[in-house]
């Protein structure tokens, strides 16, 4: 049983993450600065992702998001997180820059967006760029 702290929040995905049926998750910061987050499915707690604040790790990362995003998320203030694939730790972790997760904290809604730019990798090394 996870204890809910103030920093944790529920997120509803307006479309399930590709590959999964789950739509409702808990987003919880891993560190105090909010660089890393855990995203755990409420319906199936074994489904758990690690996300990173996109611009903190990739300062040049400014993907063009469709204007259409504000309406389904219900807010103009959209934050971008990227899903990490973690091997043995941060040193060999990779980030999915092609398909970031856009979240609107004010409405607790989220969606994974595919950016139409094949220069962006789904497995970009997180560190040592």
């Amino acid at each position: 049983m996870t204890v809910m702290t103030g920093a944790e929040m529920r997120l509803h995905f307006i479309e399930p993450l590709p590959g999964f049926d789950n739509e409702d998750y808990v987003l919880a910061p891993i560190d105090e600065q909010g660089l890393l987050h855990s995203l755990r499915s409420i319906e199936g707690p074994a489904v758990r992702f690690v996300l990173a604040a996109a611009t903190a790790f990739f300062p040049q990362y400014r993907p063009e998001l469709a204007d259409a995003l504000a309406e389904p998320l219900g807010s103009d203030e959209v934050e971008l997180l990227v899903i990490l694939t973690v091997g043995s730790g941060l040193q060999d972790a990779t980030a999915n820059l092609r398909a970031p997760v856009a979240i609107a904290r004010s409405t607790s809604r989220a969606v994974q967006v595919i950016i139409d730019d094949d220069q962006l990798s789904m497995h970009e090394p997180l560190l040592n760029q």
Binding site: P18, I30, I114, M122
Partner: protein, 82 residues
């Protein structure tokens, strides 16, 4: 599966609100335009499948892994601020 022949500039209508247009045909590639409601997501199939695999590979973080990442991150932060 319906198979039909279209020329550049012609369209196919799917249901009430999806239109697929053949924009250009050149050699073995075809440029198509798709008009669909926002609720319908449209993707290149290979990208969609790759994303499914990437998500599945990323989905199994357990408590130990998450705790280790937090510890590793604070070690890195300390190293950058001597």
């Amino acid at each position: 599966m319906l198979i039909l022949t279209r020329r550049a500039g012609e369209n196919v209508v799917i249901g009430d609100d999806i239109v697929v247009s053949i924009v250009e045909v050149r050699g073995d590639s075809v440029r198509i335009g798709i008009q669909a409601p926002r609720s319908v997501s449209v993707h290149r199939e290979e990208v969609w499948r790759e994303l499914q695999r990437a998500n599945e590979a990323a989905a199994g973080a357990d408590d130990d892994a998450v705790a280790a990442l937090g510890a590793e991150l604070s070690r890195l932060a300390r190293r950058e601020r001597p």
